[in-house]
């Protein structure tokens, strides 16, 4: 059994509550300050993507355990426009909103595991996990 808490993302303030939730959970699980910052930043990026591109979605945080390892899983889902070319958004510097284009590749580097599933006009689901070392 795993505990899961979710935050609906509709406006900028929901991004703050999503990462607050992530930070608290990471602290409880025993992550160090650096990893806490990594997790919070990753949640911030994913939640902001939802807010910017889909307008409405959900960020869920889950405590996971696998083969004696403990970790934290972020699941970000939305029913937005989807991503046309996943390979391209994973490239550094690619942006459609005038930002830095470091968001998704950055999240991949911040976390240990990363998977992205998206289809155009259906939505996007991103799952990222960080393990306690």
């Amino acid at each position: 059994m795993s505990i899961q808490s979710c935050v609906e993302v509709r406006n900028e303030w929901d991004i703050v509550s999503a990462r607050q939730l992530g930070r608290n959970m990471a602290k409880e699980l025993g992550f160090g300050t650096v990893d806490q910052a990594r997790i919070t930043t990753a949640i911030s990026e994913l939640a902001r993507n939802i807010y910017l591109y889909a307008g409405h979605g959900k960020v869920c945080i889950e405590a996971v355990e696998e083969m004696g390892k403990k970790g934290l899983k972020i699941i970000a889902t939305d029913k937005g426009p989807g991503i046309r070319d996943i390979r391209k958004v994973m490239e550094d510097g690619y942006t459609t909103s005038g930002g830095l284009g470091a968001g998704l590749p950055g999240v991949k580097r911040l976390m240990d595991e990363f998977s992205i599933d998206s289809s155009v006009n259906v939505g996007t689901e991103i799952i990222a996990t960080k393990w306690i070392r």
Binding site: R38, T41, L100, A102, P105, G106, R109
Partner: protein, 272 residues
Amino acid sequence: MRNMINDISSNKRDVIAQKWKNELSTLKNLCISSKITPDMFEQLNEEFLDMMIRYINQNDIEKDQTLHRFFDKVLQLNMPLKFLTQGLQTFRRVILDVLLQEDVKKEKAIDIYQHVDRLIDPLLNEVVEESSLFWEKTVSAQKTALMELSAPVIPVLENITVMPLIGTIDTERAKLIMENLLDGVIKNRSLVVLIDITGVPVVDTMVAHHIIQAADAVRLLGATCILVGIRPEIAQTIISLGIDLSYFPTKSTLLKGIEHALEITNQQLLKK
């Protein structure tokens, strides 16, 4: 109809008061959360009941704003809205109970219901409206206060200014930061501006992007921007995100930043 309600509310005041108090005793734990003592709660309740009975008897205090003032007072005391809404609903129930205790015909009963509804409903509306207005005012006052705090520019030494940032940066605030920063550079004739992000909990790509843009704009004005207050964990996440902050100098603390700023402006602090 009026007369009947008048009679009952004045004759059976004790019965009404007793019933009302019984029903409202469940609300007592409300005063634990707000700063109301049980005595004060009793007193408020008493006042509330008195006023309600006066209201349905003469309906005259509507004009002289007594009820209005009472609602206002309760809200100012930070009592939950529930105290008022539940109080009014309970009052309606109690009055109907008392009125319908005597055997009345069906038509008459419907009449009574409608009459009491017409008396209580406007009050409920007023209470809800008043409290939402009260909260709107509070929120807008806090928003203004937050705005004033959000991006201060402080001249510390000749040609050197500091902008300390504390808390979450959203799009609106980022705009304000940019404006204040550029205004501050011109107004204080700064050559160096230090942006201190010690109090910013998360630096993600958006925050970094805004800082880079602000620093770029400052450079266009001919001044230098130094980013200070970078905590070790923030440094690591910035690297992981792959954000390039090499266009402008960065320092770990405000003190180091000021030392660097003094160097740039050819100044020195001397001990006496």
